[in-house]
Symmetry: C2
Subunit: 756 residues, 2 copies
């Protein structure tokens, strides 16, 4: 068990490293040659242009004005100064709402911490159980925790009452925040400029038709079934291979530029490369010629593929983006079922064009179901059997573990300073390394599941990651740390025993999680603002690839909030805060520092750095809400388990009320707010439509929507469109080409397409 001293060593190490990161950041950001690393957002907005200051050329690279160094903390107030409406305008609603998650943390935990310190800490401190126990070494931190209260004491009433207060406060804040965010979203959707996705619907699983092409079939179907509203549509080409070729070509071109730059700088030495993988083996050839040849080859291939995609009917996917004359028409089509077979003509609100994940647009219904089954099974195994390596590493990463495995290190480890370092640092690091490996796998799994927009993929990956963190980081650390052997017993324990086992281990694990918060939270966030990797990458690219101002623009890597990994991580802090609030309140200040610091850093980042890949309009908030609720319920169940082992018999039924109320609260909020994030209400659509008709009566919507949903690789290329479309539109109930079959069908005047 780590003592207060261990904690303070760990705290100072982490504080020092965080401080070092911040100082490095303060210094580096003032150098003009780093300007594009630390302020890319402003460049992309066209507000800044390099170099920042004119004057002697050295000033272009190094900041010699020492007065600016004295004000190097300025970024912090500057980050907080921008008001939220402006922030939404500047960075989008997704980003603005994302940092509200940190604010939510502060709103929940600051009052809870004050209450806990005012009530629970004195109650625990004067409990004096641990003073009487001599055989176990408890640290001072444990004296502030619930462990110090004797079994069967009346003092537990304080904890029960506080559990109620904490639950109600958390729910109250969650409710208010859900309300604020949904209002912001509706306001955002109402005030936002015309966007193609407002008029468009993504149609998938268009049934094959022997007589008509996909395009004609879509056209006829919507002309018949949405006669007053259908405007136009865009078919989806299977350009996955083409996109890959384009990607490859870009990489080859980068290498070509790199070698050419090298050659120009050193004309004596013509660069060479090997033809094998990554230039590591194979025949040695002249690099510039080799890459020039390769580029030519791939260009031809690309042109052929492009030709093939655009002419081959098989390259057209059974999906389309259908656009309507009004937002009302699109809202109606997106929310209704089209045919009696619910696996065909599936309509959903189209994502933003840049948000579309093109690879997944054409997966048939049955295949989709099989994929999801397989991924669910895979997620189960990944989540529950990944636990074993973590437990193994952690058992080594304790003083006793290391001494057992590597006995010759014993004298070194036992040295006082080093012991503290190892004990404070190692378990956190081991966990962190595991977590870095994971997000990519989870994103691939989400892609296999077949979701059609990047924002949806992010949300699904976040769900998976959250499950993983919950099982492996939270429960995994508590149980394996205490005793890895418990795992098997665990599966064979009574449902009422599990909360007890975990609940009892909770107070013992407080110091571990305090260390974890400092490593992952404090130092991790400070590293985030330093942007070490983009810094290095930018200067490498700037040196070898950049020739024109446009190249430099491309060399910038503003990055974006990685919702799929960072949101589940925040949720771990919510969970820890809620679990430890009634048990070991001393943990709360660490969490509050994390939330405050992260709020500031990410506010700075979204103002100055990040460039979001898409704008979903805070579509993720229901997930955030749900996960905080999950954390709340876990905290209640564990407190119940803990108290039931402490001879507090009335505690179980009393606390059992809380999860029931919390689940009900969640359902209530779901009914009250969730649809704002899923559906587009007709009234709002009608208001916007009417307004638009009044202000822009001559708007040519067709021209506006014509090329909105084109696969990025086709951007800038003209398509030939069949002229038939315009004629048919004025006469929706046209006869199709299927005259032969039409005579055999009686009774269906409406549409021969109808028979699916």
């Amino acid at each position: 068990m780590a003592s207060v001293q261990d904690i303070s060593v760990s705290a100072s190490i982490n504080l020092l490293s965080a401080l070092a990161f911040l100082l490095a950041f303060a210094f580096l950001r003032l150098q003009p040659f780093n300007d594009r690393v630390y302020f890319p957002k402003w460049y992309l907005k066209g507000i800044r242009a390099s170099p920042r200051s004119s004057g002697p050329s050295v000033r272009k690279f190094v900041n010699l004005d020492f007065r600016t160094y004295l004000k190097f903390w300025n970024w912090m107030p500057a980050a907080l100064r921008m008001p939220e409406p402006e922030l939404i305008d500047h960075a989008g609603l997704d980003s603005a709402v994302y940092i509200r998650i940190y604010l939510l943390g502060l709103k929940i935990f600051v009052p809870i911490a004050i209450l806990a310190f005012a009530v629970l800490v004195p109650v625990n401190w004067t409990g004096k159980t641990l003073d009487n126990i001599k055989d176990l070494t408890y640290s001072d931190i444990d004296k502030l925790s619930i462990s110090n209260v004797p079994s069967g004491s009346k003092r537990f009433w304080a904890h029960i009452v506080m559990a109620y207060v904490f639950t109600f406060w958390t729910c109250y804040i969650l409710y208010k925040e859900y309300k604020i965010v949904s209002t912001k979203r509706l306001h955002f959707l109402a005030s936002v400029n015309r966007r193609p996705d407002q008029y468009s619907v993504l149609v998938r699983n268009v049934p094959p038709d022997p007589d008509e092409s996909v395009s004609e079939h879509v056209e006829h179907f919507f002309c018949v079934n949405h006669p007053d509203h259908y405007l136009t549509h865009q078919i989806v080409y299977n350009a996955n291979k083409l996109a890959k070729l384009v990607e490859e070509k870009k990489s080859l071109q980068n290498w070509y530029t790199y070698y050419q730059t090298r050659y120009e700088r050193n004309p004596k030495n013509r660069p060479q490369t090997k033809t094998g993988f990554w230039g590591l083996w194979g025949k040695t050839v002249d690099a510039i010629n080799y890459y020039a040849d390769e580029i030519e080859k791939i260009s031809e291939e690309e042109a052929a593929e492009r030709e093939k995609v655009m002419s081959d009917p098989k390259a057209i996917m059974p999906a389309a983006f259908v656009s309507f004359k009004s937002r009302w028409g699109a809202a109606v089509c997106a929310q209704t079922q089209q045919t009696s077979n619910p696996t065909l003509w599936l309509t959903e609100w189209a994502p933003e064009p840049r948000d579309v994940y093109w690879d997944n647009l054409a997966i048939p219904f049955v295949e989709l179901n099989v994929r999801r089954l397989l991924m669910a099974v895979a997620l189960f195994f990944l989540t529950f059997f990944f636990m074993i390596p973590i437990a193994f590493v952690q058992s080594i990463a304790s003083i006793d573990g290391i001494e057992k495995v590597l006995p010759f290190l014993k004298p070194l480890i036992e040295a006082k300073g080093i012991k503290s370092i190892i004990q404070g640092f190692l378990p956190g690091i081991a966990l962190k390394i595991f977590l870095i490996l994971l997000p990519t796998i989870l994103m691939i799994m989400s892609k296999i599941e077949g979701f059609t927009s990047l924002s949806y993929l992010d949300r699904r990956s976040a769900s998976k990651y959250h499950l993983f963190i919950l099982v492996n980081v939270f429960f995994g650390s508590i149980i394996t740390g205490a005793a890895f052997q418990q795992l098997h017993k665990f599966a064979n324990q009574a449902p009422s025993e599990i909360p007890k086992t975990v609940g009892v281990a909770i107070p013992m694990k407080a110091t571990f999680f305090i260390t974890y918060i400092m490593v992952d939270g404090w130092a991790g966030i400070a590293a985030e603002i330093l942007r070490l990797l983009p810094l290095v990458m930018f200067h490498l690219k700037n040196t070898f690839l950049v020739k024109t101002e446009q190249d430099r623009e491309q060399a910038m890597d503003p990055g974006s909030i990685n919702f799929s990994t960072s949101e589940p991580r925040i949720q771990l802090y919510f969970l820890l805060g809620l679990v430890y609030a009634p048990v070991t309140p001393i943990l709360l200040p660490f969490i509050i520092v994390f939330f405050a610091f992260a709020f500031m850093v990410f506010r700075h980042q979204i103002i100055n750095v990040y460039d979001q890949k898409y704008e979903s309009g805070a579509r993720f908030w229901p997930d955030v809400h749900r996960r905080v609720i999950i954390g709340l319920i876990i905290s209640q169940v564990l407190l119940m388990g803990l108290l039931s082992t402490r001879d507090a018999p009335k505690a179980t039924p009393l606390i059992l009320v809380l999860p029931v109320l919390t689940i009900w609260f969640h359902r209530f909020c779901k009914g009250r707010f969730e649809s704002a994030f899923v559906k587009f209400p007709l009234q709002d659509a009608m208001v916007k439509d009417t307004l638009e008709r009044a202000t822009e009566p001559n708007l040519n919507l067709r021209a506006y929507l014509q090329d909105a949903y084109i696969h990025p690789v086709f951007k800038g290329i003209e398509f030939e469109r069949p002229p038939a479309i315009d004629e048919e539109e004025n006469n929706p109930l046209v006869s199709t080409k299927r005259n032969s079959r039409k005579s055999s069908k009686t009774g269906s005047i409406a549409s021969p397409d109808a028979g699916v």
Copy 2:
């Protein structure tokens, strides 16, 4: 443990009683004076008129034609003769699909029984474990069950393979049946005649408006937001009190008629009554005058209330039935969200007029949520604490129990014949009595939950009842019967122990459930066809109340399928069949007999007797499907538990695959079929609309829909309608009365109503 002899005694008792019921039925139905009890459906259809045969007056009451008695089994083939399309036409889709549940049972269990008898019975019979155990008395039935296979035997492979086969077969049949039913439903909806609910949407939670009445507010809202489709609407009056008065008046009138009839038959003796409750105490008065006075009083009260409801604006509920010009418009409105606040202007597809449950149309969102929370908690307590009385009664209702409680009965009970009777009969009866009490409570709970249609109430009650049967009848019988003391242990057992405990008890309970099937299934169904209660009630009414042919029409009580109680009961048979198929296959023939017999009886009943209160178009099938799936999963888990106690180590992972696949299959079916039962596809709506426009171009839809949704107590009374409605319709964007506020609102041209 009951022996084969006990079973056969019980079987013969039940067979005899079933036979007696059938004979009584065969005799009674041939008597002309019972004609209206056994053939009410045909009277309601207007095909039959009493008396059936003309001739001598005795023939009107007693059937003297002995040849007909010889053919008294004729009803059975007659019941099976009517083809299904005709049946749907005759009795409605609900009824036709309801008896398909029995057919589903036959389709699932006949092949399973054949397989089980061909494979499992020989495997079990030759297991020969029980022959070696002398200290426990096992019956011959147990020799056919899995109990007879020695632990760790390779024979368990047969059971595992059969579990797979049974699962796949059940899923296959379920899939086929879901497909058939959903096709039938779509066909039914497509071919059905014009019905008001096709054009109408139920709007609830209309927000209050200070300047406009509910009617005006609804009018304006839909004129603005569905300008091309809105036709008319009907407001909902709070006529609950009025309906109660009408009901009371009817009862008083019945008493008045009864006493008058008595007086007419016996003019010397003027009947008297007491004014107190049920005429049991209070002042003695002249009955005819008393009831005449009472009727007059209540008539006045009714008139006053009627006046009040129709003039008082507070009697108008914040709900309305909105009708559209086309089915397309109604389908769109029902499936979309209207405003940004999802708790206001809630739209749903309107139920049939006769299906509306008027009392629940005006419950606000928050109250609805609180009610559902309370009812969920109540259901939990009802389900789990109702168990105790059952266990108590059952423990008495065993030979040992009776002997212990009433030792002086011992010599009587030990008499051989009586012992068999008690053992075979009592436990089933005890259970049955409990079950009779319950449905009414559950229906009241569903009504409190606030559902708006009778069909929905039935479905919700069925869900509750199913849970109850599952916990109390199925698990309750297995666990308490084996050992009531296990209950508490149970809550503290490991999740992996619970299936073991239950699984082990399963084979021991086979004889109990066989008895239960015979009592509840065989004799119960035979009693159903006899209709003893309606028979008595009809003759009582016929004697005392009937004066005109119309009265006689009203005295008929055709009844209807009580979905909320009978469907969950069928599900118990599915569950028993699936659980016992791999364990004690001898139970299967009893279930098959039940399904076949019930199929025939109910087919007869829906053809000749039942008159459904509403037609939901087989809206209940997803529930039926889900519950069979639940039964399947329970059977798999219990088999897993059972095998894991028998040293069949590979069984657990092998069988664990089955529930995963079954759940996935359920989700697949849900995605594939469920929407056919929830949504109305736009294509189908458009087809019907187009057809109608072509065939009936001059249809006056407004007149057709005008009074469709009027509270039954107002039927036949003319409403005055504000003439303003028609004017406004031609100019949807009219200015409202709120001129004062309008000037302060800028930017919203669309509608001042919009701001909710």
